[in-house]
Amino acid sequence: MPQDTKHLEVTLETQVDSVNLAEEMCLRVAQAAGFGEDDCYRIGMSVREGVINAFHYGNQERPDKKIYLALDLTPDKMVIHVLDEGKGFDLRRVPDPLAEENLLSTSGRGIFLMRAFMDEFAVVPGRNGGAEIIMSKKLPSERNPGNNGKGGRNSESESKGA
């Protein structure tokens, strides 16, 4: 790990409270890193959705399994890792929540929201066979000097990885 990268990781129980805890922790880091209110909202929401995904779909709400959350603050971006102990999943098989037939679905929007709110988003096989969500947001100073994340969505979405 480069010396100028700050790293933080925590192991979370598979329970609802972990979702709030993860969100609060990441929000504090994001605020300290200089992200504006709108970006903090997007980062917080993405972390929530990542941990909800791990809690519900990955670990199947089983309390004997853990959720691993890691944050890397590099000189140019904040990277968030959410790892579960489930069976993993193929991103290509996740239904499109914007498709007409899925609009009234009561679930399945978490991945979509993370993709929409973060600059980069990917799912890779976890080290223990589960899924690892990796997502990042460029620091405000790297993206658009003078705009501290207070503006609306912009063309960043065009450059997203997945």
Partner: protein
């Protein structure tokens, strides 16, 4: 902030005033219970006033959709009132703006049920 929900009658419509966060856990559960109680009480014309809802996650969105379809399946109608900017943007992003009837004025919303 925990979710809170109270309801009142206006022109034969049940207006549910909701405040707080509709998120995984207690928030979503309270919304589910509120709608279930109203339907059990044969109240099927429902206006959800979301003026004080400042945050909804995917679980909360799912609960709103569930409320919408649950009421519709009983022959009723569920509409939304006074969305905050974040909730408005979220419904737009998820294309649910095309599903829900959304109003910014209570009188107009109440009239729309006739």
């Amino acid at each position: 902030m925990a979710l809170r929900a109270t309801y009142r009658e206006a022109q034969g419509i049940t207006v549910v005033d909701i405040g707080g966060r509709i998120t995984l856990g207690e928030g979503s559960a309270l919304l589910r219970k509120t709608i279930r109680d109203l339907l059990e009480d044969k109240r099927t014309l429902i206006l959800l006033n979301l003026a004080d809802v400042d945050y909804i996650d995917s679980s909360g969105i799912g609960e709103l959709v569930s409320a919408y379809t649950g009421v519709k399946n009983r022959g009723g109608s569920l509409k939304l009132l006074h969305l905050t900017k974040k909730v408005h943007d979220l419904l737009q992003l998820t294309k649910l703006f095309t599903v829900f009837d959304v109003y910014s004025d209570e009188r107009t919303a109440l009239t729309s049920f006739r």
